[in-house]
């Protein structure tokens, strides 16, 4: 029964950082808002640094077993913090000097805190807290940065999010009513004695809520609309960071409920397959690159759920999932950053000839998209083949087959995009925006993310060792 608040240092740093940016931003003149940007970056770096330090230590729990600080949490914290840092770079292009600049940064920090809590929660009530803290700032970000088109996106996100929150809480209520407890360790035992049909309702409801955060079937409708309708900062953030927390949370929930009942693994396998197929097929005919990426993230959630189906059966499950999360985050940010650097191009066909006029940006986009497909030696490839291996190792050979099939399906629409980029320019190529100005930042981030994808893939062995060092049972 120890509090050990210091174990939550990364969350505390992020949250306090958010508060100070919010308050400080109100007293800083518009043209000096860059100070808040630096404060945000410092808070995120601090959170990532302390989280990495925590990774070196042994797994611990805080607040009476309601929050686990283990490899999964630490990895999720590092990924979430560094990802948000990159998104800050994307945001600098869109938001510098905007009236809501510091507010947005504060909201990003709050949402990131929520994501971290979501990842570490080992108690259903803490899970609710994390869910709400990760969701509510998100509605505001979607609305704030989206302009007129963002209003619809914000409404959709809010309604679906509110519904999912209620469903999640309903599930928690049911599980609490059945077992009289909300902690995962005790749930594992108590659930075996409860009537399985009711347990099913409870777990499915919690799962549905978390899938909203992850943006997977069946709560995925908001993702493409939000990705298309809102500003690029919000689009990048909501398709990347919440997934980190939600996927780890789903992993923890599944570890708890599948210990005695393996059919839950099959449920996750089916959800993963459905997300992959739907996301990939829906992305096929999208013309807006951001909407295309929105659907592609739905498919990517499917890939991310694959290793969870091997929970407890394969040692590869957790490290491969965490690796995929990091790899996906990098590749996804890289692709979104390119759209941020070319804000006027809202059609895939408008990218024709980009390689001739902006070769660096074209290469960055190519690397990020190839990584999303899973071309070696880029980072997502390592994630993809290890997750497929984990699934097969865990007895789901068919899921590995589905992963390969969907990789092929996804090639088509990514190829449609980068094939256009590298084809010969059309006659009115002058419409391509030139470099410089506010788009310099997102362009830099795109290149950093692309180099990161390559580096993470090549040095996969090192990161794998870090992630696989201590596997919590």
């Amino acid at each position: 029964m120890q509090m050990q608040p210091m174990l939550l240092l990364p969350e505390i740093i992020t949250f306090v950082g958010g508060l100070s940016v919010l308050l400080g931003g109100s007293f800083i003149a518009r043209h000096r808002q860059w100070i808040t940007r630096i404060a945000t970056a410092v808070a995120l770096l601090g959170a990532a640094f302390t989280a990495a330090l925590a990774m070196a230590g042994p797994p611990q729990t805080a607040f009476s077993d309601t929050f686990a600080v283990d490899t999964a949490t630490s990895a999720a914290r590092v990924i979430a913090a560094l990802t948000t840092l990159l998104i800050l770079g994307v945001a600098s292009g869109e938001l510098a000097g905007a009236p809501r600049e510091s507010d947005t940064y504060a909201l990003l920090l709050f949402a990131t805190t929520g994501v971290m809590i979501l990842a570490g929660a080992t108690d259903l009530l803490v899970l609710i807290a994390g869910f709400l803290l990760a969701s509510i700032p998100l509605y505001a970000i979607v609305g704030l940065t989206g302009g007129a088109a963002g209003a619809e996106a914000a409404m959709k996100t809010y309604f679906l999010g509110a519904l999912s929150g209620i469903v999640l809480m309903l599930g928690v209520t049911v599980l609490y009513a059945l077992t009289g407890d909300t902690g995962y360790t005790r749930l594992t035992q108590a659930l075996t004695e409860a009537p399985s049909a009711v347990v099913g309702v409870g777990v499915l409801s919690v799962l549905a809520g978390l899938l909203f955060k992850a943006g997977g079937i069946p709560a995925h409708f908001w993702v493409p609309d939000a990705a298309q309708g809102t500003g690029v900062t919000a689009a990048t953030f909501l398709t990347t960071v919440p997934k980190v927390g939600a996927v780890v949370a789903i992993y923890r929930l599944l570890t708890t409920v599948s210990a005695e009942n393996h059919s839950w693994l099959t449920v996750i396998a089916v959800l993963a397959a459905a997300s992959m197929f739907l996301g990939n097929l829906a992305a096929y005919w999208q013309r807006d690159p951001r909407r295309l990426l929105g659907w592609s993230t739905v498919a990517q959630v499917g890939f991310l759920l694959v290793p969870i189906a091997a929970t407890g059966r394969s040692d590869l499950a957790l490290p491969s999932m965490l690796f995929y999360l990091g790899a996906y985050a990098l590749a996804n940010i890289g692709a979104f950053a390119v759209t941020a650097a070319l804000p006027t191009l809202r059609e895939v066909t408008a990218y024709r000839g980009l390689a001739k006029f902006r070769p660096g940006l074209a290469m960055a986009l190519l690397v990020s998209l190839l990584s999303l497909i899973g071309i070696p030696p880029l980072a997502v490839f390592v994630g993809k083949f290890t997750t497929a291996t984990a699934a097969w190792d865990g007895g789901y050979g068919w899921l590995a087959l589905v992963v390969m099939l969907n990789t092929l399906l996804s090639l088509f629409y990514y190829l449609r995009w980068f094939g256009t980029v590298f084809s010969r320019p059309s006659t009115n190529a002058a419409s391509l925006p030139s470099s410089g100005g506010a788009t310099r930042w997102p362009a830099t981030i795109a290149v950093i993310a692309a180099v990161g994808s390559l580096g993470l893939g090549i040095s996969a062995g090192f990161f794998w060792d870090v992630l696989a060092r201590s596997i919590p049972s």
């Binding site: 190839l370 497929a388 291996t389 590995a400 590298f422």
Partner: protein
Amino acid sequence: MLSLIVFLPLVIATVVALVPGIRPAAARWVWVVISAAEVVLVGILWVGYEDPGPNKLAFDEQVPWIPGVNSSYHVGVDGLSLPLLAMTTVIFLAAAIYALKNSDRPRTQTALFLFLEGVSLGVFVSADLIVFFVFFDLSIVGMYFVIAGWGHGNAARSALKFFLYTFLGSLALLLGFIGLYVFSDPHTFDILELVASTPLKNDPVAGGVVLTAIVVGLAVKTPTVPFHTWLPPAHTDAPATGSAVLAGVLLKMGTYGFVRIAMPILPEAWQNWAWPIIIVGMVSVLYGALVALAQSNLKRMIAYTSVNHMGYIILALGAVGLVIDDTAQARSVAVTGAIVQMVSHGLITAALFLLAGLMQSRAQTYDMDSYGGLAAPAPRFAALFAIASFASLGLPGLSGFIAEFQIFAGSIAVAPIAVLALPGILITAALFLRALQRVFAGPTQGLSIGFADLHGRELWSIAPLLALSLLIGIVPQTILGVIEPASAVLVNIVGR
């Protein structure tokens, strides 16, 4: 040494791609110089090569990559891969010399082809499934950009088809690799360890599934009937250098995968599935030859003869799976024939595609009926084309004969039904003679009028390929001495 050979072109490619200030002429010569250096390096390798013995590799290098899944950067060569390594460097040098006149984005082209050379060599030296897959997949990406960027006709569509098809193949391959990992004990991706432990030895069902995945993956790349449909459009619309590399080098990755991965790791499954594989090989031989016979587009015709020639290799390798007593010698001959065929086909077809490319660049068409009597204005062109055709149809004295003779001698000894594939040689002979007649014989007419003959650069690019084919044909011992010990080892492993 091997890492230097693989990474030298990759590093130079990166440098060339990143430095925009490189002048076109310099970029073209960088390609020539680096690929010549590669030829020299592989030559040094060849001189220092000694047969490493069963299930071992010479010039072995191993560095851990992802220890968590027992995958390491592990490279090495043996008698199966060394000839292919040498062939690859020669073909890239020929392509580099051929492209010396190219004015279309030479810097990007140099970077792309050096990248392709590095990954192709990487495939042939890999001793780890994941490293093999990395290079295998990257070769697809590189070739996609070659076809899409420098092709003609309906290049974008052909490139897309090429990418989708061969990517499907590579995914099937990856699935098979994962299967090998899952069923091996201890779990590993290392090829030598897998060969030693023969996973799935007592599990014919799972062994069959994993083998199917791997065979489909390799068959798409090879390609065999019925997975060949990507090949003709890709070849027809690719630039000449791209076609030469695609047919000469990339197709070999499929057939090489059989001898390096499928056969030694899954010997029992290979034996069980030997008959279907033999039949696929025979169908490819006959179908490829018959369809090639019906073409009027020269480049399409050469593309279909590739299907035919790859069919011989599949036939021979399938026959190796028929483990009948007292035939180890014959099966070893079949494997040797298959490897020689890979090298021979690489050299000859690269030469044929480069020659066909000249027709496109001079008269803008591959249509054979648009020419006639071309031998009069372009005697050197006609002579080289005739030599390449004869080599391709298996005339004694050239490398094609050595290869096909050994393939049939070895296959018929274990599977007499392979006789049925012999008409493939006859049809190939007919179609090449008919092509020679249509394009080169008779009065000079149509586009042949004013057709410039080969000049220095073109001659220096194409003639050495055919000279090597002649060398293998006359002094086969130069290459057989390297291959034969490795074939015997492979036959032993498959016969376990």
